[in-house]
């Protein structure tokens, strides 16, 4: 295809994916509010639209039209930059996430992934690690001790748990022998659920570590200390209001989705069905095109539900507990897992 | 066929002992110190015994000429380590140990007697504060002495040579808080330096004229001349080309005289004997080990080791003989009138070593070594006995205040008696055979030999005289001073006495013939023995020797037992002579007047003021001035400011890049700057 077509198609992909992502974020919020409501034995939002389905739009409109006040003492450029960094770092990683097999569509144009990078996993991790700056700068620029403490906390937390996170993925990478997400998924597709990394790959320990680290990475409870209202009145985004606050808010949920995608790809066989390659690909093009997306979405959805469930049930950690848990428990465990996996692979 | 004897362990064990005791000794409990101090020499003694056993099978005929033998170890057996130790153009010195008959005998003496004296020291030094220090020094001495003996080349021997000098210095000055001891140590050190100076010159001459310092190669030079000849080196027979030709007789004589100077320094011969009597300031076991049995005889050993040189320098040999005879005589005369028991023994030592030199001088090296062996036994015995006397009398050393100790110290008395009779040369005790061998060898050594023989004879009379004098004064008669409490002598001191007594009784029974035959490969054939032997003459000479020993005994009996007042009268009769002897021929005074005082004056005025203060000081001041001046200019560079450093750094890097580029000449080579070669290495 010509360069022009290439550009157009790519543009299309990007737009679609971004929109889907934004909607996903919005409705993840709704999902959370509803589920937590059920857990706490109350109705979630139910007024706006049927079953409150339009609630997200209302929220968006509200936060958009609210007055946007900027305190006088802030370091203005950084104060403005911080939420942008946060949100973009939450939105970009999806670009490296494949939703389905390649080669569907005209002359093997890759519809189901914005860009297929050899080291896609590393790219996702890298961009996710850039997310720290958003929080750190927010806390620092808003010139407020609560914000600063919150941001320092969260930055420290993110750095500490990145180690465990990365190490927990090493096992999977070792098994696949590649950092290309599609390769990793293909390798899990062979025997369906039995060959998913979390089961067939004996990576359940890795998955456990990844889960913990992911909670911490996304500042979700039980690791949501940066925004521990009781101590920090809201943490790094204390001084933010209206749309900027909303950006941080979206960033958090975007990160949740990213983490969910990665978990799906690495541990749950990505877009492949429960039976994997056991069932032949359907002849109908549409089904062939959208079955993978269905599976992928289901898996990510389950992961998000797990998130909300945990938030609804578990209390918050204390900071020193958090650090000890990360350094003294998760990290050694991850190292052990890496060693074990490599031994297993070596003597298999 | 050569099984490894691990010679390196022999010196190393005592060295380990030295390190352990020297570093941790002060913290270790006393038994531990004792254990370390004893086990080290014991270990090396056992190793030496093992070596001896390994070599004894058909040992006598092991020699370079007679090819392979059936012994487990064939002499000379050599081990080389880390060689080449020194590898320069014209100087090849391996760190190699060589064991042959000569060094084996010497090793047996060193480690065996050394071990006995270690045992003795336990009792003798038991109440001393510097117990650990003492044992560490003693081990250090054993280490260096074994290195000296085992050395395969002159250089390594010199290392050991200096080392034993150091050990002796440390031990003489053991009671360093006593001024006498400290001075005595210094004196010994300095006098030895003079001798070592000679030794060094000798080594340089050797290197210059032979191009090698290895004994075997030097020997090879003297073997019947042919372009290619067999040489034993590192225990294997190898072909070696005869390099530079044999030096002239004059050069050889010079070399030998230099070596003789060194030997005289170490073995306390004229003119360098003055340090030994003062060395008696050290603890008595030290005097026994270092200044009687082993170290002072190193000179003899060295001459025997380099006999191939002396054999070809008859003039030097004559000098050796004369020095030996003269020393023997004069030392004996001085010994007559000394009142300090240890000094008497010291002069006796000097004169006995004189005998050994005499033997070497008449090319009867094996006889000399034989006497060395026996002397090691009886002189160590004498010293140890004297030591136990001193120990018993609480440090009293003056003969005039002793007396009547016979009943109080029976064991000491009897062992001392054996020693005295041995020294005097009564058969069948050890010294009789060795001294007899020396005198006989001297007698049959041409006309000049007769004179030497006569001197030796007179000396042996004097010897028996002063030894019996000591005997009578110390043990016979009535106590000349009330010694309040005689300390009981511990067993650890008595046992060595007994063993040494036994040795000095039967040490000589080997007989010179078989001994010489055994030593023949390493010290050459003894002329007086074997074919040239003349039993009747030898017998006659033996009778004579015993006779005049008996005369000496009689005189001593008269003078110091029956008529104790007689010596005083005699001294009064010949005051000049007595003074001369009592003041040891004023040699010390002479030296101090001729050497020491002028040296002090020159050092103080010429060197001190003119050279040091004026010239050197001026130059130094100048240099310092220049340095500090340039420092003042340059220190502005080191402003401590990071940014200025960065500036200069970048300037420097620019300069380097430019220079590389320009020196590179063309852009292609400039491109080469970029082709970092590990990249080139890994092109795919």
């Amino acid at each position: 295809m010509t360069i022009l077509q290439f550009f157009l198609w790519s543009l299309l992909k990007v737009v679609v994916v971004t929109l889907v992502m934004l909607m996903g974020i919005a409705y993840t919020v709704l999902l959370e509010r509803k589920l937590v409501g059920r857990i706490q034995n109350r109705w979630g939002p139910s007024r706006v639209g049927p079953f409150g389905l339009l609630q997200p739009l209302a929220d968006g409109a509200k936060s958009f039209f609210k007055e946007d006040l900027i305190p006088g003492a802030v370091d203005r450029p950084l104060y403005l930059l911080a939420p942008i960094i946060s949100l973009s770092c939450a939105l970009i990683p999806i670009a490296a996430v494949p939703f389905g097999p390649p080669g569907v569509g005209p002359d093997r144009f890759d519809f189901f992934e914005i860009s297929n990078i050899n080291v896609g996993l590393l790219v996702i991790l890298g961009i996710a690690s850039m997310g720290v700056y958003g929080i750190a700068l927010a806390g620092w620029s808003s010139n407020n001790k609560y914000s600063l403490l919150g941001s320092l906390r969260s930055a420290a937390q993110l750095i500490s748990y990145e180690l465990a996170l990365g190490l927990s993925l090493v096992g999977v990478v070792l098994r696949a022998g590649s950092l290309n997400l599609r390769t990793i998924v293909d390798q899990q597709a062979t025997r369906g659920i039995l060959s998913w990394n979390v089961f067939g790959g004996f990576q359940f320990i890795a998955f456990f570590i990844y889960l913990m680290a992911a909670f911490a990475e996304t500042n979700r409870s039980p690791f949501d200390l940066p925004e521990a209202e009781s101590e920090l009145t809201g943490g790094y985004h204390t001084e933010y209001s209206s749309m900027k606050f909303a950006m941080f808010f979206m960033a958090e949920y975007g990160n949740m989705i990213n983490v969910g995608c990665v978990a799906t790809l690495l541990f749950f066989g990505g877009w492949t069905s429960v039976l994997g390659d056991r069932i032949p690909p359907p002849h109908n093009v549409l089904i062939h095109a959208f079955l993978p997306i269905f599976w992928f979405t289901i898996k990510v959805f389950g992961f998000l539900c797990l998130y909300v469930w945990v938030r609804g049930t578990l209390p918050r950690f204390r900071y020193d507990q958090l650090m000890n848990f990360g350094w003294r428990f998760l990290l050694p465990l991850a190292i052990v897992n890496v060693i074990g996996t490599s031994l297993w692979l070596a003597y298999r | 066929m050569n099984e490894s004897l691990h010679l390196w362990l022999i010196p190393l064990l005592p060295f380990a002992g030295f390190l352990l005791n020297g570093i941790f000794g002060s913290r270790l409990p006393k038994p531990a110190v004792t254990a370390i101090g004893l086990l080290a020499p014991l270990g090396s003694f056992l190793l030496v015994l093992n070596a001896a056993a390994a070599s004894m099978i058909s040992a006598p005929e092991n020699c370079p000429q007679c090819g392979p033998v059936t012994a487990a170890v064939s002499f000379p057996y050599a081990e080389a380590y880390a060689h080449p130790w020194i590898n320069l153009v014209g100087l090849q010195a391996d760190f190699s140990f060589v064991l042959d008959q000569l060094s084996l005998v010497m090793l047996l003496v060193v480690t065996g007697v050394g071990f006995l004296i270690h045992i003795y020291s336990i009792g003798y030094m038991s109440h001393d504060a510097g117990y650990a220090r003492y044992f560490s020094f003693l081990n250090l001495f054993i280490f260096f002495m074994t290195v000296l003996v085992l050395a395969g080349n002159v250089l390594l021997m010199f290392v050991g040579w200096e080392g034993v000098g150091l050990a002796s210095y440390l031990l003489i000055g053991f009671y360093f808080n006593k001024t006498h001891a400290a001075n005595a140590g210094k004196k010994a050190f300095i006098v030895n330096r003079i001798g070592d100076f000679g030794f060094l010159i000798g080594i340089f001459l050797l290197l210059a004229n032979f191009g090698t310092l290895t004994f075997s190669e030097i020997t090879a030079k003297f073997l019947p001349s042919s372009a290619v000849r067999m040489v034993v080196e590192h225990g294997v027979m190898m072909l070696r080309h005869a390099t530079n030709p044999l030096p002239s007789a004059g050069v050889l004589t010079a070399i030998c005289l230099c070596l003789l100077l060194g030997a005289a320094g170490k073995s306390a011969q004229i003119p360098l004997y003055v340090w030994l009597p003062d060395a008696m300031e050290g603890p008595t076991p030290v005097s026994a080990l270092i200044h009687a049995a082993t170290m002072v005889t190193a000179g003899v050993y060295m001459i025997a080791r380099t006999h191939m040189l002396f054999d070809h320098a008859p003039k030097a040999l004559t000098v050796v003989a004369i020095v030996g005879a003269a020393t023997a005589f004069f030392a004996a005369t001085i010994g007559l009138v000394q009142n300090d028991i240890k000094r008497v023994l010291a002069y006796s030592t000097i004169s006995q070593i004189g005998y050994m030199f005499l033997a070497c001088g008449v090319a009867a090296y094996s006889a000399g070594i034989f006497h060395l062996l026996t002397h090691a036994f009886f002189k160590a015995l004498l010293f140890l006995a004297a030591g136990s006397v001193i120990h018993a009398m609480g440090g009293e050393q003056d003969l005039r205040r002793m007396g009547g100790l016979r009943k109080k110290l029976p064991v000491t008395f009897w062992t001392m008696t054996i020693a005295v009779f041995t020294v005097a040369g009564f058969p069948p005790l050890a010294a009789f055979f060795s001294k007899d061998a020396i005198l006989y060898a001297a007698f049959i050594h041409g006309t000049s030999g007769k004179i030497l023989w006569f001197v030796g004879l007179v000396t042996s009379l004097l010897t028996s005289l002063y030894t019996f004098r000591l005997w009578y004064l110390a043990f016979m008669g009535e106590p000349r001073s009330e010694h309040p409490h005689l300390k009981s002598t511990p067993l650890s001191m008595l046992a060595p006495l007994v063993i040494l007594a036994a040795l000095s009784i039967c040490g000589g029974w080997i007989g010179i013939e078989s001994f010489a035959a055994y030593l023949a490969p390493s010290t050459g054939v003894l002329k007086s023995a074997g074919a040239a032997a003349n039993p009747p003459l030898e017998f006659l000479l033996g009778i004579l020797a015993v006779a005049d020993a008996a005369i000496g005994w009689y005189i001593a009996h008269v003078f110091y037992h029956r008529k104790p007042e007689r010596p005083a009268q005699l001294a009064a009769a010949f005051p000049a002579g007595y003074q001369l002897l009592a003041n040891k021929y004023y040699v010390d005074e002479f030296y101090s007047a001729v050497v020491v005082k002028p040296l002090f004056t020159i050092s103080k005025y010429v060197l001190g003021w003119v050279v040091d203060t004026a010239i050197l000081g001026g130059v130094t001041w100048l240099l310092a001035g220049v340095a500090s001046l340039s420092g003042m200019i340059l220190q502005r560079w080191q402003s401590g400011n990071l940014r200025s450093y960065a500036a200069w750094l970048s300037l420097g890097s620019a300069a380097v890049l430019l220079s590389v580029w320009i020196l590179g000449g063309s852009f292609h080579s400039a491109a080469y700057i970029f082709n970092i070669d590990f990249l080139n290495g890994a092109r795919h």
Binding site: - | S639, G640, R643, A647, I676, L679, G681, A682, R683
Partner: protein, 106 residues
């Protein structure tokens, strides 16, 4: 459009790295803040890394990239220690100005 249809010569990458390096030196020269000076060191390291990668490309040699990898590791270590030192210095001197910190001892 002709301009856009030519390839990128490697020398441009090298020039870029040279420029960055010089900028790093200049940063070293003009910046007063210890931390910023340290940053310009990192900038220089990055410039050198770029040239390494370029040469690795030119020679089709992986080892160039591995060298960059090592440089990164060492830079990380250096950053850790260096920043710790900076903190210690700040504790001791209460300033970060390189012009003020010009004595070995306090």
């Amino acid at each position: 459009m002709t301009f856009f249809h030519q390839d990128v010569p490697l020398s441009w990458y090298l020039l870029l790295s040279a420029l960055l390096f010089s900028l790093g030196i200049i940063g070293f020269l003009i910046k007063r803040n210890l931390i910023t000076v340290f940053m310009s060191i990192e900038l220089m390291l990055n410039a050198v890394n770029l040239s390494f990668v370029t040469f690795a490309y030119q020679w089709h040699a992986v080892k160039g990239q591995i060298f960059v990898f090592f440089v990164m590791m060492v830079a990380a270590a250096e950053a850790a220690v260096g920043l710790a030192i900076i903190i210690a210095v700040f504790r001791a001197r209460a300033t970060l100005s390189v012009d003020r910190i010009d004595l070995m001892k306090l």
